[in-house]
Subunit: 233 residues, 2 copies
Protein backbone atom coordinates (compact mmCIF):
# COMPACT_ATOMS: atom_id res chain seq x y z
CA UNK A 1 0.00 0.00 0.00
CA UNK A 2 2.73 2.44 0.89
CA UNK A 3 4.55 1.71 -2.35
CA UNK A 4 1.43 2.67 -4.25
CA UNK A 5 1.02 5.87 -2.33
CA UNK A 6 4.64 6.84 -2.91
CA UNK A 7 3.91 7.26 -6.59
CA UNK A 8 1.52 10.15 -5.99
CA UNK A 9 2.75 13.73 -5.78
CA UNK A 10 6.24 15.11 -5.90
CA UNK A 11 7.02 16.11 -2.33
CA UNK A 12 8.15 12.61 -1.29
CA UNK A 13 8.77 11.67 2.34
CA UNK A 14 5.58 11.82 4.38
CA UNK A 15 4.61 9.45 7.14
CA UNK A 16 6.54 6.17 7.21
CA UNK A 17 4.80 2.82 7.32
CA UNK A 18 4.89 1.41 10.82
CA UNK A 19 4.64 -1.83 12.75
CA UNK A 20 2.85 -4.57 10.87
CA UNK A 21 2.79 -2.69 7.56
CA UNK A 22 6.55 -2.21 7.53
CA UNK A 23 7.28 -5.82 8.45
CA UNK A 24 4.90 -7.26 5.84
CA UNK A 25 6.89 -5.66 3.05
CA UNK A 26 10.06 -7.43 4.17
CA UNK A 27 8.58 -10.91 4.42
CA UNK A 28 9.34 -11.28 8.14
CA UNK A 29 6.75 -11.86 10.88
CA UNK A 30 4.90 -8.60 11.51
CA UNK A 31 5.77 -6.80 14.74
CA UNK A 32 3.59 -4.48 16.77
CA UNK A 33 4.29 -0.99 18.00
CA UNK A 34 6.18 -2.39 21.02
CA UNK A 35 8.26 -4.86 19.04
CA UNK A 36 6.13 -7.91 19.88
CA UNK A 37 5.30 -10.49 17.20
CA UNK A 38 1.77 -10.07 15.82
CA UNK A 39 0.21 -13.54 15.48
CA UNK A 40 -2.90 -12.53 13.53
CA UNK A 41 -2.18 -9.35 11.55
CA UNK A 42 -5.75 -9.11 10.24
CA UNK A 43 -7.27 -9.27 13.72
CA UNK A 44 -4.64 -6.84 15.01
CA UNK A 45 -5.47 -4.38 12.21
CA UNK A 46 -9.21 -4.65 12.96
CA UNK A 47 -8.56 -3.94 16.67
CA UNK A 48 -6.23 -1.10 15.79
CA UNK A 49 -8.92 0.45 13.60
CA UNK A 50 -11.62 0.05 16.24
CA UNK A 51 -9.42 1.97 18.71
CA UNK A 52 -8.78 4.67 16.08
CA UNK A 53 -12.48 5.05 15.34
CA UNK A 54 -13.53 5.22 19.01
CA UNK A 55 -10.80 7.79 19.64
CA UNK A 56 -11.77 9.86 16.57
CA UNK A 57 -15.38 10.01 17.78
CA UNK A 58 -14.28 10.96 21.30
CA UNK A 59 -11.82 13.62 20.09
CA UNK A 60 -14.65 15.10 18.04
CA UNK A 61 -17.13 15.00 20.91
CA UNK A 62 -14.95 16.08 23.84
CA UNK A 63 -12.01 17.71 22.13
CA UNK A 64 -8.54 16.18 21.88
CA UNK A 65 -7.22 17.75 25.08
CA UNK A 66 -10.22 16.76 27.19
CA UNK A 67 -10.47 13.13 25.98
CA UNK A 68 -8.31 10.69 27.95
CA UNK A 69 -6.86 7.26 27.15
CA UNK A 70 -9.22 5.91 29.83
CA UNK A 71 -12.19 7.36 27.90
CA UNK A 72 -10.95 5.68 24.73
CA UNK A 73 -10.35 2.32 26.47
CA UNK A 74 -13.84 2.46 27.97
CA UNK A 75 -15.42 3.28 24.58
CA UNK A 76 -13.70 0.28 22.95
CA UNK A 77 -14.37 -1.97 25.94
CA UNK A 78 -10.71 -2.82 26.61
CA UNK A 79 -8.16 -1.85 29.25
CA UNK A 80 -5.73 1.04 28.93
CA UNK A 81 -3.04 -1.65 28.68
CA UNK A 82 -4.91 -3.04 25.68
CA UNK A 83 -4.55 0.33 23.97
CA UNK A 84 -0.83 0.51 24.75
CA UNK A 85 -0.50 -2.79 22.92
CA UNK A 86 -1.29 -0.88 19.70
CA UNK A 87 -0.33 2.73 20.35
CA UNK A 88 2.39 4.54 22.26
CA UNK A 89 0.30 7.49 23.46
CA UNK A 90 -2.80 9.61 22.88
CA UNK A 91 -0.67 11.71 20.53
CA UNK A 92 0.22 8.58 18.58
CA UNK A 93 -3.48 7.66 18.29
CA UNK A 94 -4.40 11.08 16.92
CA UNK A 95 -1.54 10.87 14.45
CA UNK A 96 -2.58 7.41 13.26
CA UNK A 97 -6.23 8.49 12.84
CA UNK A 98 -5.23 11.18 10.39
CA UNK A 99 -2.48 9.21 8.64
CA UNK A 100 -4.65 6.10 8.21
CA UNK A 101 -7.54 8.11 6.75
CA UNK A 102 -5.37 10.11 4.34
CA UNK A 103 -3.36 7.04 3.23
CA UNK A 104 -6.58 5.12 2.57
CA UNK A 105 -7.80 8.02 0.42
CA UNK A 106 -4.45 8.29 -1.40
CA UNK A 107 -4.46 4.58 -2.21
CA UNK A 108 -7.92 4.86 -3.75
CA UNK A 109 -6.95 8.00 -5.68
CA UNK A 110 -3.94 6.14 -7.08
CA UNK A 111 -6.28 3.36 -8.24
CA UNK A 112 -8.49 5.90 -10.02
CA UNK A 113 -5.50 7.58 -11.69
CA UNK A 114 -4.23 4.17 -12.86
CA UNK A 115 -7.46 3.66 -14.84
CA UNK A 116 -6.29 6.20 -17.42
CA UNK A 117 -9.46 8.33 -17.75
CA UNK A 118 -9.37 11.86 -19.19
CA UNK A 119 -8.68 14.38 -16.37
CA UNK A 120 -12.26 15.65 -15.91
CA UNK A 121 -13.56 12.08 -15.65
CA UNK A 122 -10.78 11.04 -13.25
CA UNK A 123 -11.57 14.11 -11.14
CA UNK A 124 -15.26 13.21 -11.04
CA UNK A 125 -14.39 9.69 -9.89
CA UNK A 126 -12.05 11.10 -7.23
CA UNK A 127 -14.71 13.50 -5.88
CA UNK A 128 -17.33 10.76 -5.86
CA UNK A 129 -14.85 8.46 -4.07
CA UNK A 130 -14.14 11.04 -1.37
CA UNK A 131 -17.80 11.81 -0.69
CA UNK A 132 -18.69 8.09 -0.73
CA UNK A 133 -16.04 7.23 1.82
CA UNK A 134 -16.97 10.10 4.12
CA UNK A 135 -20.43 8.47 4.17
CA UNK A 136 -19.36 4.82 4.23
CA UNK A 137 -16.32 4.91 6.50
CA UNK A 138 -16.98 6.24 10.01
CA UNK A 139 -13.22 6.52 10.54
CA UNK A 140 -12.79 8.69 7.46
CA UNK A 141 -15.83 10.78 8.41
CA UNK A 142 -14.72 11.44 11.96
CA UNK A 143 -11.04 11.86 11.02
CA UNK A 144 -12.02 14.59 8.57
CA UNK A 145 -13.63 16.89 11.11
CA UNK A 146 -10.67 16.85 13.52
CA UNK A 147 -8.25 19.76 13.63
CA UNK A 148 -4.66 18.84 14.33
CA UNK A 149 -3.97 19.83 17.96
CA UNK A 150 -0.92 22.12 18.33
CA UNK A 151 0.26 19.91 21.21
CA UNK A 152 0.80 17.12 18.66
CA UNK A 153 4.46 17.87 18.10
CA UNK A 154 6.10 19.38 15.06
CA UNK A 155 7.26 16.18 13.33
CA UNK A 156 3.85 14.53 13.44
CA UNK A 157 2.06 17.70 12.34
CA UNK A 158 4.42 18.05 9.41
CA UNK A 159 3.99 14.42 8.40
CA UNK A 160 0.18 14.81 8.36
CA UNK A 161 0.45 18.07 6.43
CA UNK A 162 2.76 16.42 3.90
CA UNK A 163 0.31 13.56 3.24
CA UNK A 164 -2.52 16.09 2.83
CA UNK A 165 -0.37 18.04 0.38
CA UNK A 166 0.15 14.93 -1.71
CA UNK A 167 -3.59 14.47 -2.01
CA UNK A 168 -4.13 18.17 -2.77
CA UNK A 169 -1.30 18.16 -5.33
CA UNK A 170 -2.79 15.18 -7.19
CA UNK A 171 -6.21 16.91 -7.38
CA UNK A 172 -4.58 20.18 -8.42
CA UNK A 173 -2.69 18.32 -11.15
CA UNK A 174 -5.91 16.75 -12.47
CA UNK A 175 -7.59 20.18 -12.57
CA UNK A 176 -4.60 21.75 -14.35
CA UNK A 177 -4.59 18.92 -16.91
CA UNK A 178 -8.34 19.34 -17.41
CA UNK A 179 -7.93 23.08 -17.97
CA UNK A 180 -5.10 22.47 -20.44
CA UNK A 181 -7.26 20.09 -22.42
CA UNK A 182 -10.20 22.50 -22.40
CA UNK A 183 -12.40 20.18 -20.30
CA UNK A 184 -12.37 22.32 -17.15
CA UNK A 185 -12.31 26.01 -16.20
CA UNK A 186 -10.27 27.39 -13.27
CA UNK A 187 -8.19 30.53 -13.01
CA UNK A 188 -5.93 28.88 -10.44
CA UNK A 189 -5.83 25.09 -10.17
CA UNK A 190 -4.59 25.00 -6.56
CA UNK A 191 -7.30 27.38 -5.36
CA UNK A 192 -9.86 25.29 -7.27
CA UNK A 193 -8.50 22.12 -5.61
CA UNK A 194 -8.82 23.64 -2.12
CA UNK A 195 -12.41 24.71 -2.79
CA UNK A 196 -13.31 21.32 -4.28
CA UNK A 197 -11.83 19.42 -1.34
CA UNK A 198 -13.58 21.58 1.28
CA UNK A 199 -16.92 20.92 -0.45
CA UNK A 200 -16.37 17.17 -0.66
CA UNK A 201 -14.97 16.73 2.86
CA UNK A 202 -17.43 19.27 4.29
CA UNK A 203 -20.05 16.53 4.04
CA UNK A 204 -18.37 15.07 7.14
CA UNK A 205 -19.44 18.11 9.18
CA UNK A 206 -23.19 17.66 8.62
CA UNK A 207 -23.80 14.02 7.62
CA UNK A 208 -25.67 11.86 10.14
CA UNK A 209 -26.57 8.23 9.55
CA UNK A 210 -30.32 7.90 9.21
CA UNK A 211 -30.67 11.49 7.99
CA UNK A 212 -33.23 12.68 5.40
CA UNK A 213 -31.23 11.81 2.27
CA UNK A 214 -30.16 8.47 0.80
CA UNK A 215 -26.44 7.83 0.56
CA UNK A 216 -26.68 7.70 -3.23
CA UNK A 217 -28.51 11.03 -3.51
CA UNK A 218 -25.84 12.75 -1.40
CA UNK A 219 -22.97 11.23 -3.42
CA UNK A 220 -24.60 12.07 -6.76
CA UNK A 221 -25.71 15.60 -5.94
CA UNK A 222 -22.58 16.73 -4.11
CA UNK A 223 -20.39 15.27 -6.88
CA UNK A 224 -22.48 16.98 -9.58
CA UNK A 225 -22.52 20.28 -7.74
CA UNK A 226 -18.74 20.25 -7.30
CA UNK A 227 -17.97 19.08 -10.85
CA UNK A 228 -20.41 21.48 -12.55
CA UNK A 229 -18.50 24.28 -10.82
CA UNK A 230 -15.42 23.39 -12.88
CA UNK A 231 -16.65 21.87 -16.15
CA UNK A 232 -16.32 24.14 -19.19
CA UNK A 233 -19.68 25.24 -20.64
CA UNK B 1 -29.56 44.84 14.23
CA UNK B 2 -31.46 42.14 16.08
CA UNK B 3 -34.72 43.39 14.65
CA UNK B 4 -33.30 43.01 11.16
CA UNK B 5 -32.09 39.51 11.86
CA UNK B 6 -35.47 38.50 13.22
CA UNK B 7 -36.98 38.89 9.80
CA UNK B 8 -34.89 36.06 8.33
CA UNK B 9 -36.01 32.45 8.51
CA UNK B 10 -39.02 30.89 10.13
CA UNK B 11 -37.68 29.13 13.21
CA UNK B 12 -37.82 32.26 15.41
CA UNK B 13 -36.23 32.41 18.85
CA UNK B 14 -32.47 32.04 18.60
CA UNK B 15 -29.96 33.90 20.72
CA UNK B 16 -31.33 36.90 22.58
CA UNK B 17 -29.71 40.30 22.30
CA UNK B 18 -27.67 41.03 25.40
CA UNK B 19 -26.16 43.81 27.46
CA UNK B 20 -25.61 47.00 25.49
CA UNK B 21 -27.57 45.81 22.44
CA UNK B 22 -30.71 45.09 24.48
CA UNK B 23 -30.58 48.43 26.31
CA UNK B 24 -30.06 50.44 23.12
CA UNK B 25 -33.35 49.25 21.72
CA UNK B 26 -35.21 50.56 24.74
CA UNK B 27 -33.70 54.03 24.68
CA UNK B 28 -32.11 53.71 28.15
CA UNK B 29 -28.39 53.94 28.90
CA UNK B 30 -26.71 50.74 27.75
CA UNK B 31 -25.67 48.35 30.50
CA UNK B 32 -22.83 45.84 30.48
CA UNK B 33 -22.88 42.14 31.16
CA UNK B 34 -22.65 42.83 34.93
CA UNK B 35 -25.33 45.48 35.01
CA UNK B 36 -22.97 48.48 35.03
CA UNK B 37 -23.68 51.55 32.90
CA UNK B 38 -21.57 51.60 29.72
CA UNK B 39 -20.28 55.16 29.21
CA UNK B 40 -18.88 54.74 25.70
CA UNK B 41 -20.78 51.94 23.91
CA UNK B 42 -18.61 52.17 20.79
CA UNK B 43 -15.37 51.77 22.73
CA UNK B 44 -16.93 49.00 24.81
CA UNK B 45 -17.97 47.16 21.62
CA UNK B 46 -14.47 47.53 20.16
CA UNK B 47 -12.94 46.08 23.35
CA UNK B 48 -15.52 43.31 23.44
CA UNK B 49 -14.64 42.37 19.87
CA UNK B 50 -10.90 42.44 20.51
CA UNK B 51 -11.41 39.95 23.36
CA UNK B 52 -13.59 37.75 21.11
CA UNK B 53 -10.98 37.76 18.33
CA UNK B 54 -8.06 36.97 20.65
CA UNK B 55 -10.09 34.16 22.21
CA UNK B 56 -11.16 32.76 18.81
CA UNK B 57 -7.51 32.62 17.69
CA UNK B 58 -6.48 30.94 20.97
CA UNK B 59 -9.34 28.42 20.89
CA UNK B 60 -8.27 27.53 17.33
CA UNK B 61 -4.60 27.23 18.26
CA UNK B 62 -4.78 25.49 21.64
CA UNK B 63 -8.28 24.02 21.63
CA UNK B 64 -11.16 25.38 23.71
CA UNK B 65 -10.51 23.14 26.70
CA UNK B 66 -6.79 23.90 26.88
CA UNK B 67 -7.07 27.69 26.45
CA UNK B 68 -7.57 29.59 29.72
CA UNK B 69 -9.01 33.01 30.56
CA UNK B 70 -5.47 33.97 31.61
CA UNK B 71 -4.22 33.08 28.10
CA UNK B 72 -6.94 35.27 26.60
CA UNK B 73 -6.25 38.18 28.97
CA UNK B 74 -2.54 37.97 28.15
CA UNK B 75 -3.23 37.93 24.39
CA UNK B 76 -5.40 41.07 24.65
CA UNK B 77 -3.00 42.75 27.08
CA UNK B 78 -5.56 43.21 29.86
CA UNK B 79 -6.22 41.61 33.25
CA UNK B 80 -8.56 38.69 33.82
CA UNK B 81 -10.75 41.20 35.67
CA UNK B 82 -10.86 43.25 32.47
CA UNK B 83 -12.31 40.25 30.67
CA UNK B 84 -14.93 39.69 33.38
CA UNK B 85 -16.06 43.26 32.73
CA UNK B 86 -17.35 42.05 29.34
CA UNK B 87 -17.97 38.32 29.70
CA UNK B 88 -19.22 36.03 32.42
CA UNK B 89 -17.01 33.03 31.65
CA UNK B 90 -14.93 31.25 29.00
CA UNK B 91 -18.11 29.52 27.94
CA UNK B 92 -19.78 32.91 27.48
CA UNK B 93 -16.85 34.09 25.32
CA UNK B 94 -17.09 31.06 23.04
CA UNK B 95 -20.82 31.56 22.73
CA UNK B 96 -20.44 35.25 21.85
CA UNK B 97 -17.75 34.48 19.24
CA UNK B 98 -20.14 32.26 17.32
CA UNK B 99 -23.27 34.35 17.87
CA UNK B 100 -21.53 37.62 16.89
CA UNK B 101 -20.11 36.09 13.69
CA UNK B 102 -23.38 34.47 12.62
CA UNK B 103 -25.48 37.56 13.45
CA UNK B 104 -23.09 39.76 11.47
CA UNK B 105 -23.49 37.41 8.49
CA UNK B 106 -27.29 37.27 8.90
CA UNK B 107 -27.52 41.07 8.96
CA UNK B 108 -25.56 41.30 5.71
CA UNK B 109 -27.66 38.55 4.12
CA UNK B 110 -30.81 40.45 5.07
CA UNK B 111 -29.38 43.55 3.34
CA UNK B 112 -28.74 41.52 0.18
CA UNK B 113 -32.24 40.02 0.22
CA UNK B 114 -33.73 43.51 0.67
CA UNK B 115 -32.17 44.59 -2.66
CA UNK B 116 -34.73 42.52 -4.54
CA UNK B 117 -32.47 40.70 -7.02
CA UNK B 118 -33.57 37.51 -8.79
CA UNK B 119 -32.71 34.44 -6.63
CA UNK B 120 -29.57 33.33 -8.55
CA UNK B 121 -28.14 36.86 -8.41
CA UNK B 122 -28.99 37.25 -4.70
CA UNK B 123 -27.33 33.88 -4.06
CA UNK B 124 -24.19 34.97 -5.91
CA UNK B 125 -24.03 38.14 -3.80
CA UNK B 126 -24.53 36.10 -0.62
CA UNK B 127 -21.71 33.67 -1.52
CA UNK B 128 -19.39 36.50 -2.46
CA UNK B 129 -20.27 38.26 0.81
CA UNK B 130 -19.47 35.16 2.89
CA UNK B 131 -16.13 34.52 1.19
CA UNK B 132 -15.19 38.22 1.38
CA UNK B 133 -15.87 38.40 5.08
CA UNK B 134 -13.98 35.21 5.85
CA UNK B 135 -11.01 37.00 4.23
CA UNK B 136 -11.63 40.52 5.58
CA UNK B 137 -12.84 39.81 9.12
CA UNK B 138 -10.38 37.87 11.29
CA UNK B 139 -13.18 37.27 13.80
CA UNK B 140 -15.43 35.71 11.17
CA UNK B 141 -12.52 33.66 9.81
CA UNK B 142 -11.45 32.26 13.15
CA UNK B 143 -15.02 31.82 14.41
CA UNK B 144 -15.77 29.67 11.38
CA UNK B 145 -13.14 27.03 12.05
CA UNK B 146 -14.20 26.43 15.67
CA UNK B 147 -16.31 23.42 16.58
CA UNK B 148 -18.80 23.97 19.36
CA UNK B 149 -17.36 22.26 22.46
CA UNK B 150 -19.80 19.77 24.04
CA UNK B 151 -19.00 21.31 27.43
CA UNK B 152 -20.73 24.50 26.25
CA UNK B 153 -24.10 23.63 27.74
CA UNK B 154 -27.25 22.63 25.94
CA UNK B 155 -29.00 26.03 25.82
CA UNK B 156 -26.04 27.84 24.30
CA UNK B 157 -25.40 25.04 21.80
CA UNK B 158 -29.03 25.12 20.72
CA UNK B 159 -29.01 28.91 20.35
CA UNK B 160 -25.92 28.75 18.09
CA UNK B 161 -27.43 25.92 16.07
CA UNK B 162 -30.68 27.86 15.66
CA UNK B 163 -28.88 30.95 14.32
CA UNK B 164 -26.95 28.71 11.89
CA UNK B 165 -30.21 27.14 10.78
CA UNK B 166 -31.65 30.56 10.00
CA UNK B 167 -28.72 31.30 7.72
CA UNK B 168 -28.92 27.85 6.09
CA UNK B 169 -32.70 28.18 5.65
CA UNK B 170 -32.35 31.54 3.89
CA UNK B 171 -29.76 30.10 1.46
CA UNK B 172 -31.89 26.98 0.93
CA UNK B 173 -34.88 29.23 0.18
CA UNK B 174 -32.89 31.21 -2.41
CA UNK B 175 -31.78 27.99 -4.10
CA UNK B 176 -35.33 26.59 -4.12
CA UNK B 177 -36.64 29.85 -5.61
CA UNK B 178 -33.88 29.78 -8.24
CA UNK B 179 -34.74 26.18 -9.17
CA UNK B 180 -38.44 27.07 -9.41
CA UNK B 181 -37.65 29.94 -11.76
CA UNK B 182 -35.38 27.76 -13.89
CA UNK B 183 -32.23 29.74 -13.01
CA UNK B 184 -30.60 27.05 -10.89
CA UNK B 185 -30.31 23.25 -10.80
CA UNK B 186 -30.42 21.21 -7.58
CA UNK B 187 -32.17 17.95 -6.78
CA UNK B 188 -32.45 18.93 -3.11
CA UNK B 189 -32.15 22.60 -2.13
CA UNK B 190 -31.12 21.91 1.48
CA UNK B 191 -28.36 19.52 0.46
CA UNK B 192 -27.21 22.09 -2.12
CA UNK B 193 -27.19 24.79 0.58
CA UNK B 194 -25.04 22.66 2.90
CA UNK B 195 -22.54 21.97 0.12
CA UNK B 196 -22.44 25.62 -0.94
CA UNK B 197 -21.87 26.83 2.63
CA UNK B 198 -19.08 24.31 3.30
CA UNK B 199 -17.28 25.49 0.14
CA UNK B 200 -17.61 29.17 1.01
CA UNK B 201 -16.75 28.83 4.71
CA UNK B 202 -14.06 26.23 3.96
CA UNK B 203 -11.88 29.11 2.80
CA UNK B 204 -11.41 29.86 6.52
CA UNK B 205 -9.56 26.54 6.95
CA UNK B 206 -6.78 27.32 4.47
CA UNK B 207 -6.63 31.10 4.03
CA UNK B 208 -3.55 32.84 5.39
CA UNK B 209 -2.90 36.58 5.11
CA UNK B 210 0.01 37.21 2.76
CA UNK B 211 -0.63 33.95 0.88
CA UNK B 212 -0.07 33.44 -2.86
CA UNK B 213 -3.44 34.77 -4.07
CA UNK B 214 -4.95 38.24 -3.99
CA UNK B 215 -8.11 38.70 -1.96
CA UNK B 216 -10.05 39.58 -5.10
CA UNK B 217 -8.91 36.47 -7.00
CA UNK B 218 -10.00 34.22 -4.12
CA UNK B 219 -13.41 35.91 -3.81
CA UNK B 220 -14.03 35.84 -7.58
CA UNK B 221 -12.86 32.28 -8.22
CA UNK B 222 -14.46 30.64 -5.19
CA UNK B 223 -17.74 32.47 -5.88
CA UNK B 224 -17.67 31.44 -9.56
CA UNK B 225 -16.79 27.84 -8.74
CA UNK B 226 -19.64 27.57 -6.24
CA UNK B 227 -22.22 29.34 -8.42
CA UNK B 228 -21.34 27.47 -11.62
CA UNK B 229 -22.09 24.29 -9.71
CA UNK B 230 -25.73 25.37 -9.43
CA UNK B 231 -26.49 27.57 -12.44
CA UNK B 232 -28.64 25.91 -15.13
CA UNK B 233 -26.80 25.29 -18.40
Amino acid sequence: MDMTVERIGTTGGGARPRGAARAEGRGVRPRGVRGHVVRDPELAEARRRSILLAAAVLFGEKGYEAATLDDIAQAVGITKGGIYHYFLSKEDIFYEIRVTAIKDALTRLEDILAQGHPPAEALRLAVSDLVSHVLDSPLERHANVLRTPPSLGRRKRQAIRQLQRRYEAAIQHLIAQGVERGELVARDAKLAAFTLLRSALGVATWYREGGPWSRDLIVAQVTDQIMEGLVRR
